[in-house]
């Protein structure tokens, strides 16, 4: 009997590897392979066509003296610093509103989610029209409603990033759906108990909703930061990094170096720096999470 079970489990193990093998092979060849290769290339002078030449840390040294590297870092951090928290606050507010018991709620939920289904390129082209300083609907409305002469948006060094941040709210539907699920998972008895104790709405929000939602907020914060550091499509389609490098996002700069200037070695070094930055930020958030994230199951044990 004993041997029977072990032979069965051995067979099961074999089948496990057999069935998972397409994924493992794909993962090793198409993901692990390129990652290791890019680490190697980052120490090389490599233009894709001629074979790579080892130059040690030269790419990494060059990077620190490259003003465009710092510009890309500045642009990306600026965008990330504003778009992530604003996006979270906005989608949380909308999610709470959508969690109320009012008529036609299903429609509102759908409407808010629909934009996030549209592809990035199409959205970018659409927003180029919206933001056009002379013919765009945004400046038209600003003038008609408030008599404000709108800025040049994508054609202004100062306004291009705020414009792209505004545009990023177009895709908050995804987060709203996650928050809605989270809100619906909060037990109603907590609110009822609070009401008996005489808590007002604001207190309930601060002391029940926020703590109960904090694991979800952690998740969206981490994903949001990773996503914001990888912004590419908008910049590639709408501004090509301009005007005057004002929207030179980090990944766009990697792309330019890799596929337009054929500095594949340098682009690999840039990618590894980006990886380290994202890793550090994520670690920082996770390390700080015990301070502000509340897990119901682990508390007081």
């Amino acid at each position: 009997m004993k041997t029977n079970i072990s032979s069965m489990s051995r067979r099961e193990e074999r089948y496990f590897y057999l069935f998972i093998s397409p994924w493992i092979i794909g993962f090793v060849i198409f993901i692990i392979g390129p990652i290791i290769a890019s680490l190697y290339f980052s120490f090389c002078n490599y233009d894709v066509v001629t074979s790579p030449v080892w130059i040690g840390l030269q790419n990494y040294k060059n990077l620190f003296f490259d003003p465009l590297f710092w510009q890309a870092l500045k642009v990306t951090s600026y965008y990330s610093l504003l778009s992530v928290p604003l996006g979270i606050i906005l989608s949380l507010i909308i999610a709470i509103l959508l969690n109320q018991k009012i008529r036609g709620l299903v429609w509102f939920r759908t409407i808010y989610y629909v934009p996030s289904v549209i592809s990035g390129v199409a959205v970018s082209l659409l927003w180029m029209w919206i933001f056009n300083p002379e013919f765009g609907i945004l400046n038209f409305l600003l003038w008609k409603l408030f008599r404000i002469q709108g800025p040049a948006w994508l054609m202004s060094e100062e306004w291009v990033i705020p414009a792209l941040i505004i545009m990023s709210f177009w895709g908050i539907g995804g987060d709203i759906v996650i928050y809605l699920a989270g809100l619906q998972g909060i037990p109603t008895e907590l609110y009822e108990a609070a009401e008996i104790d005489g808590a007002n709405s604001w207190k309930k929000f601060l002391n029940i909703t926020i703590p109960m939602m904090s694991p979800i907020l952690l998740f969206t914060l981490v994903m949001g930061i990773i996503g914001s550091f990888q912004v590419f499509t908008q910049a590639y389609v709408m501004t090509r990094g301009g005007p005057h490098y004002a929207s030179l996002f980090y990944v766009l700069y990697i792309y330019q170096n890799a596929f337009q200037f054929f500095n594949m070695g340098y682009a690999s070094a840039l990618s590894w720096i980006l990886f380290i930055i994202i890793l550090l930020l994520t670690l920082l958030i996770f390390k700080s999470s015990p301070l502000w994230v509340y897990y119901e199951s682990t508390k007081e044990r």
Partner: protein
């Protein structure tokens, strides 16, 4: 149980057996497969397909296959196919990298011996000398042109008629045809038609790149040997003559936007371009550009014309010529077969078909009269006038720096970014030019390091 396992083994063996034959065509056919990398231009691709079908029919031992990719992916695809050790046998400077970039990386095969061997069937003298010049790297011919593009003035004749203005001259040596006169005409053609305080019709759009306007104003951004395939060591703008020419040119271009207000600003141009090719939208009266402004169908509600480039400074005429030379991969397994197809694409017969279907001009002189015949059907100019314009465009020309200057695209992206504040009306030409020179020279230095290693 064993039965099932047994049949499974047989099934797998059977599949492997067939897969082997399907994936190794060389076992049952002695055909050389030649691949050609093309961009997904909707007008060009059907012509290419027709030519391939024709060629494959008459060459039973060669099979040409086209790999068609979007314009933006052309260079990444070319370079990554190369990195993978499976380069396309035939390619060209369809996107940003030029044949000089390819030559410096030793990617393209030198065609001198082939051309000498087949001189009768090719008839090299039939090509425009500038076209062959535009495929030559340090004395070696690296490609055979299958088409050209030229630079001149294209205009909307209906807008001239409406304003009662005479069409611009076609003679390149007409001394009265100056930049100032062109600007004067542009002012008359710039109009706010519906009176809402916004301009609806612009006089002039000059799409020439910085190196082209430097030429036009009598200067040059690069030393002469740079155009022959020797990597630039720095910009030639430290020479006062070149510097002042480009400075003047930048000032003139900025004046079109903000002083005379005859050209659309970047914001307006973005909207116009989303409607289509600026000339074809009817919003712009005159365009200085490559002849792609009149490729494809022209809107029927307007009449069209072409004219000579005006004198920006006395006695100087120099415009950009765009040559499309077909290159053969140096590491190709089928160099001879690829050459057969390159010859076929560059032949009169193929170039004529391309011209008829796309209005692209041929790089063969003997086909110029066919070109004139074709475009004169929708232009207001007489055939003699067209001949005059083309004569100038191919006489006072030099090959596109994008094709002939090593690492051009990276340098261009630097000066495009640096001139943004000028076109947006935020900075003055001198300030922009001075930083531009510094930044481009830095990029040139980085490029040099890459190839000296």
């Amino acid at each position: 149980m064993y039965k099932i396992k047994g049949s499974l083994v047989w099934l797998i063996l059977l599949i492997l057996f067939f897969a082997f034959f399907v994936t190794s065509p060389s076992l049952y056919a002695q055909k050389a497969t030649v691949t050609i990398l093309w961009r997904d231009d909707p007008d060009e691709v059907p012509v290419l397909d027709a030519l391939i079908t024709n060629f494959n029919k008459t060459h039973p031992k060669i099979e040409v296959k086209a790999i068609v990719v979007p314009y933006d992916e052309y260079d990444p695809k070319l370079f990554s196919m190369w990195a993978a050790g499976t380069p396309p046998d035939i390619f060209w400077c369809a996107a940003e990298s030029g044949y000089v970039d390819h030559a410096i990386r030793d990617m393209n095969f030198t065609l001198n011996t082939f051309i000498a061997r087949d001189k009768k069937s090719i008839n090299l003298n039939d090509f425009y000398p500038a076209a062959i010049e535009g495929a030559t790297f340090r004395g070696d011919i690296k490609g055979l042109p299958f088409a050209q593009a030229y630079t001149t003035v294209f205009y909307n004749a209906t807008l001239f008629d409406n304003a009662g203005i005479k069409y611009p001259p076609t003679n390149w040596l007409d001394k009265t045809w100056t930049w100032d006169r062109m600007v004067e005409i542009a002012k008359k053609l710039t109009k706010d038609i519906n009176g809402d305080g916004r301009i609806d019709q612009y006089g002039l759009l000059d799409t020439r790149d910085l190196f082209e306007i430097a030429w036009a104003w009598g200067g040059d951004m690069f030393e002469p040997d740079v155009y022959k395939g020797y990597p630039p060591k720095k910009l030639a703008l430290d020479k006062p003559k070149n510097y002042s020419a480009l400075l003047k040119a930048l000032q003139e271009r900025a004046d079109l936007l903000y002083k005379y207000k005859v050209s659309p600003t970047p914001a307006t141009l973005q909207v116009i371009e989303q409607m289509g090719s600026p000339l074809k939208t009817g919003k712009v009266s005159m365009v200085i550009s490559g002849d792609w402004s009149i490729w494809g169908a022209m809107p029927k509600n307007y009449k069209w014309g072409i004219a000579a480039i005006p004198y920006s400074v006395p006695n100087v005429k120099k415009v950009c010529l765009y040559t499309d030379p077909l290159e053969i991969a140096r590491t190709s397994k089928y160099i001879n077969e690829a050459w057969e197809f390159v010859k076929y694409l560059a032949s009169s017969e193929s170039q004529k078909l391309l011209m008829e279907r796309t209005s692209r001009i041929s790089s063969r002189r003997s086909l110029r009269k066919d070109y004139i015949e074709k475009v004169s059907s929708f232009l207001v100019n007489s055939k003699k006038e067209l001949e005059e314009v083309l004569d100038g465009a191919f006489r006072y020309c030099q090959e596109d720096a994008e094709h002939t200057v090593f690492g051009f695209y990276q340098l261009q992206s630097v000066w495009t970014s640096e001139t943004d504040p000028l076109w947006l009306g935020k900075k003055q030409p001198k300030e922009v030019l001075d930083t531009l020179i510094k930044k481009v020279n830095q990029a040139i230095g980085e490029n040099l390091k890459k190839i000296t290693k």
